[in-house]
Amino acid sequence: MKCRIILWMYSVISVLALLLLLSRENIFVLLALVLGVLLLGHREIWSLIRYRRLPVIDERVRDNLSNAMRLTGILFFITSIVLLLLLRFNVFKGVPVELIVSGEFVMVGIVYLIGYYYYDRVRPNLGKRAARWLKICLITAGLSLSTVALGIVLHNLISYWFDFEEAFFFILALLAAPAVFAVSMLVSLVIYIKGLFSPAGEG
């Protein structure tokens, strides 16, 4: 009964949102919404289709959900500030705002999923050594990303102040830091996927 009510509510709200967004021709927001619903509710939708009931939300799932939500909230806050700053300085000239906002929502949704599966599957399956490497790689990736921004600013400032083409921060920002970022993200991805598909979680 409860399952049927939820299914009905889901359907009615989806159809209303669909009609509203179609009438306003907000295709990007519509796509983001549909994708978001599918991404966030994939477990519930799958369980409703296959077992005709909602999955149990026990204490472990609740902990994982709240951890993933916290991570997503922090990211949403940071990306919103960055996007507002970029929009303020007209960086996205000609790009529809709906597209930018939709992109942000989709990205946040994907991060939520990655975060949820990290707490749900990856973290319990990782050994101490792999967990330490994952942490190091993620910190390195974050630092290298900030180095890109910092390098660009410093390169421009030094070039402007001393009236010559500064090379060190240029190479650092456009070559070294992106390379470090790519490598650390790749290693993180490998560790994550290894943890996600580790047989230990399947029992």
Binding site: V56, D58, E59, R60, P124, G203
Partner: protein, 65 residues
């Protein structure tokens, strides 16, 4: 933390799915508990012990470290 859940469950002839159903958790939670990869709350530990007909300290063994 070590657990003897699997042993007690096998004694009662319960599957992970059945134990999960009795305790009201997901099967994955039982898997992680049996492998010692998740520390349950006192309430969940007590429910599992009751379902398996044993004391908490018989099923969940705390490591000193």
């Amino acid at each position: 933390m070590k657990t003897r859940m699997k042993e007690y469950r096998a004694r009662l002839g319960l599957t992970q799915e059945q134990l999960a159903e009795i305790v009201g958790v997901r099967r994955e939670t039982i898997i992680f508990l049996e492998k010692g990869k998740y520390n349950p709350s006192l309430k969940l530990a007590s429910n599992i012990a009751r379902a398996l007909g044993a004391c908490i300290e018989d099923i969940f063994i705390l490591n000193d470290e």
